[in-house]
Every structure is written in structure tokens, then in C-alpha cells.
Amino acid sequence: MEEKYKVQVTDLHKSYDGVHEVIKGASLDVAPSEVVCIIGPSGSGKSTFLRCINKLEDFQDGHIYLDGVDLADPKVDINKMREKIGMVFQHFNLFPNMTVLENITLAPVELGKEDKETAIKEAHKYLQMVNMDDKADVKPTTLSGGQQQRVAIARALAMKPDVMLFDEPTSALDPEMVGDVLNVMKKLAQEGMTMIVVTHEMGFAKQVADKVAFFYGGVIKELGTPEEIFDHPQEEETKNFLNKVLNI
């Protein structure tokens, strides 16, 4: 493990029921403040790969290091590790039984990171950042998808994570909502957040990513800068995929 990486995944293997292998030896290094976008056809294992990084999915083989700590080590307290890894889901997964503000303050208060007063102050700060502060006291179900996703980002940020994982954050949104969410993510990237983003937004990947990983058949088939991947893809599968998604 080299200390210069924030996240380092080495030779990751994951299968369901020990039979159906979905990740067949994937490796990825992410430097601090780096933004890595993972693209690829559906079913290629890219979301599963992302979910392994905070152990929402168990994996059978390989290592995932966060700041040098190996998540494969059974002695590691996964809850403590997850506090440092923010996650944003395709379907937002806000808690419908709480207000927007409570969604954000829940974890910092419950985990003893902040007292309630500080947590509320901080929550408003993050809500301002995602431009949702005026909705602090409403229930999430009254919000549009785009608004919910921005609240979800604020909720993840409130734990002050070292890394943010995004699992197709705009896939469930109406097209006119996508921009707002992507803008928030761009802002985050500019502020130096380390991000791993599974996405179908090629424009965003081109514009924001430091590295683009093309996931195919359970492995990272091709990895490079946006220019390398989008303008000069080497692999046949990469070319086919890009042809399909870019020339609709």
C-alpha cells in the first residue's frame, strides 16, 4: 500500500453464492482529491464494485485500502470506516420519517460526532451549499427527485467524509433535474473532494474526471484520462460502448 493513494483497490473478487462471479479481479488507485468516473454497460459490475468500497457488498478476495487501512481485515470496525466514506445512491434513500434537517443531523448526532446544536448549524451550511436550505423543515417526500438527491449529498457530506461514492446519482432523475445535481458534484470536485462516481453522464465524466475507468465483464478493461478514454480508446469493448452511448 502506497500512502499517496486515498483509496486503493487491489485484485477484487466478488461472487454471489460462491458461484456467480461478478467482479473478477478489479484494481483501482485513487489519489487524494482525485475524481474517478466509472463507466460501462449495465451488468458489468461497476455498481457492485463501488458498493464493495464501503462494504455494503462483501467481497471474497482482494483488498480495499482506505488511508492504508484494509477493509478486508476482519478486525477493522466497518462502522468507523464508513463514517469516512460518503455514499450517494441512485434512489436517494432519504429517510421519509424525518425532515430534511433531521436526515442530515441524524448520523453526526447519533455517532457522537457533534452535539445537536452544532450539527444543526453544520446541516444548514451543507444545505446552503446544495441550495436546499429553504427546505430544511419539510419531509423529503414533498421534494422533487433532483432536490432529494441534493439533500442526500448534503447528508453524506455532514459526516465530513474523506471520500465520496456516487452510485449513478442522476439515473433516476428527470432530465431537467440532472444539471442541478451535477453542478453540486462539480463544486465538490473543485473543492478537492476525493470522488468515485459510477455514471452514465459522459459529459460530466469528460469535464470533471481526472481518470475514467471503463468497466466490462467484472474487470476494469481500460483506465485513462478522459481524453485517452473518450478520444483514443484502445480496447474494442470500449469503442463499442462509447459508440452506443455517444451516438444515440
Partner: protein, 485 residues
Amino acid sequence: MHLKKLRKLLLLPVSLLIAALFLTAPKAQAASKKTYIIGTDQTFKPFEIQDKDGTYNGKNPGIDIEILREIAKHENFKYELKIMSFNADVQALQSGQIDGMIAGMSVTEERKKTIDFSNSYYTDGVCLAVAKDSKITSMKDLKGKTVNVKTGTTSAIYAKSIQKKYGFKLKYYTNSNTSWADVKAGNADACFDDGPSLRYGIANGTGLRIVGKQVSNAPLAFAVKKGENQELLKMFNDGLAWLKKTGRLKKIVNKYTSKKAVKSQVVADTSILGLIKDNAGALLQGLWMTIELSIVGILAALVFGLILGIMGIAEHKFWHGLANVIIYIFRGIPMMVLAFFIYIGMPTLLGHKLPLFTAGILTLMLDEGAYIGAIVRGGFESVDVGQWEAARSLGLPYYKALWKVVAPQGFKLMIPSLVNQFIITLKDTSILSAIGVMDLTQTGANLIAQNFQGFKMWLIIAVIYLIIITLLTWLSNYIQKKMQH
């Protein structure tokens, strides 16, 4: 570590449960230590004649009760009556749940194996009775007919012994009144029952007549479990000797069996309104017991169900299996069997008596709790898995995620099923009348034993249940509406 957390999480409901059980305990322990628990039958005239409120505190409580009353006064001991069916009494005696039993019980060789009898206070026998207008005139006419008997009684033993010879079918009941009403209604052709009891009933308008002579005469006696409560048995015998010597025994017996025997309280007004007015006190008392059982029962069941539900989705798979087994067992046992097991069977295991109310609550807790456990687990499981993932991804440990995020949403989904279970619980309390709980159902059975107004009384009881359940449904709809806002 997870086990530790689960334990912590379960501590609250468990302590609530224990507190609930203790709260119900003083109810039964109110009487002092020297009080003997004496089992007796439900109304079995003229030996046992229950009052309107189901007690034997009235002026004419029957031969057995008057004898017991006089002897206790003379011998200076206190007693408390446990009123159950004859058969349940015998089992309770053998399990030590009651200290003694007086219920028109005949001395038989079979019973002597497990029971110590007092001296006899009366000689009793079995009679055959049929409906007034029946064509049956002797035992020979019974071929192919249906004949009622009371479970566990001498009449049943006698009927069984001649069943082959006369070729009739037997139908078993737990109390005489239902058995007689069944014959009168024509569902059965005849019944074997205690002679004095039948004669007393006929004098009071059961609409039956006796066929042939009284047979199988046998002495009646007071009973204790073999080898136990010998001081009680001695006091009874001493008292009985005194009753015989002073002629008091004869007076008591004559009061109920002579031509001028006391009649049951005559019900003047047998219209539905009259019946309600006449029995309002008893009905309200029964209703109150039903409500009390339902509320305490559902609370205990909620606690037990919550524990099972949490076990059912615990992080550790071991708990899932355990919860499944517990739910499987208690959902699989009929509630009446469970009630008998707890009230009559458990004392043998525990080595001490279980108060009736506590036994009733335990039964409800285990049976309804198993159903609630399945509801709770199902409620938790139907919460979107994304909620778990979001909570866990923030670093919340399993049980914090459960308690703060998943459970509140799960409970909301459960409410309709839980309300439904509460209504079922209220109805299920009627099953507890089998172990002698004086709930609304048992009160109804008692009142009918006196006034023979089966149709009207059961109609009144049914309507009372319906009203309560309707009110409950309204209340729960109101609460659900409120919760949605």
C-alpha cells in the same frame, strides 16, 4: 459485540414484561397464606348453584358449597373457590394447582389411585334423561341414538361401560346445562347425568324427564391430591362428623332435594331488555374482565412480539432461527391447549401455583405474541432495503440503523395488522373461559345455567362483543388517521 448490543436492546422490553407479570401477581396473592384453594364445578345443581355474578356467595349456593362453608366456619380455615369444569378441576387437583376439590365427586377405585377422599357426605347415582316428548322409555331404545355425558364424570364412566351393550353414540360436554339444552333442542336423544342434579333441573324447568331408575349409586366425597393436604382432609372429616351429629347435613341436603326444595331464582322478565336489566351487574363485570384481559394481554403480547420481531431480523442469523422456532411453536398450538398447559400443566414444572389471571395473560402473551412477532418481523422486512443501506453507509451500526431509521417506518406499516391482532385478541380472551376466567363469555354461560335463556343470552353477549369491537375499530381508524398527518 453484536450480541451484546442485541441484549441491550432487548433489555427494555424484557424488563417491561417482567414488570407486567409482577403487576398481575398481587391480584392473586391478596389472600393470606393459610387460604386453601378449593376447586369446584361450574353450576351443577343442586350441588353447585352459581350466583348471577358467577360466584357462590349467594344464599342458595348448593349442597357442596353449603357443606364446605359450614365446615370451614366450624374448623376455622379460610378457602378460596376456583370455579372450572369438573374435568379441569380433577386435572388441577392432580397438578397441585388446587388444594382440595368438592364438586359432587363420586368415590371410585380408579380415582383412589391419585386422590385421597374424605368420608362421604351423600350417596349419589346416575340417571338417564330424555326430552319430555321423547319416545324413549328404556335403555333398550337407545340403539343408534346420540347420548350426552359430561367429560370425566361418573355418568360418563357408567355410560361408557354400557355403551356396547345398548349401542348408542356418546357426545361429550363440559357442563350439564349445555348437555341438557342440547337434548331439549333435539340435537341429542338422551343424556346420562347425576340423579339429584337432573331432578333439580327438571323441577326448575329444563324440559327433560327421567327414564328408569337411578343406577350406579356411589358415595360423594371431598378430595385432595394423594398424600397432600392431609391436614385439610382431616379438618373436613372432623367438620363433616360434626355436621352429621348435629343434623345440619341432613338439613342442607333436604333444602335442595326434598319436594319443597329451593328453586333457582325465578327470572320474571325473560325479554331481552329484561334479561339485560336483570343481569347488568354480572355482564358489566364479565365485560370488564374481558377488557382487562385484552389490554394487559395485548401489551404483554406486544412486548413478546417485539422481542421476537427484533430477533427475526437480528444481525446474527442464529436469532432468526430461534425466533422462527418460537413463532412456529406458539402459532401451532391451539390457544385452549396452551391455556390448559400453562394453568394446569405448568405448576407441576414450576412447583407452585399460577394465579388464574397470570395464566390467562401468559397464554395471550405467548399465543398472540407469536402472531405479533411475525407481524413485526414482516413490517421491518417490508421497509425498503435502500433505507438500511443509506443508514449503514453513514456509519450507523446495525441496531442504531434499525431503531432510528427502519423501525419507525416498519411500525407505520404494521399498524393495520396490529390493530387487527388486537381485535383478534379481544375475541380470543373468550377461550380463556375454559380455565375458568370469569370473562364475558363465561359470565354468559353462568347466567344461562340459571335462566335457561340460551338464545337470548348468547345474542346479548354477541352484541356486546360487536359493540366493543366496533368502538375499537373506530378508535384505531382515528389513531391511524392522526398518525398519517
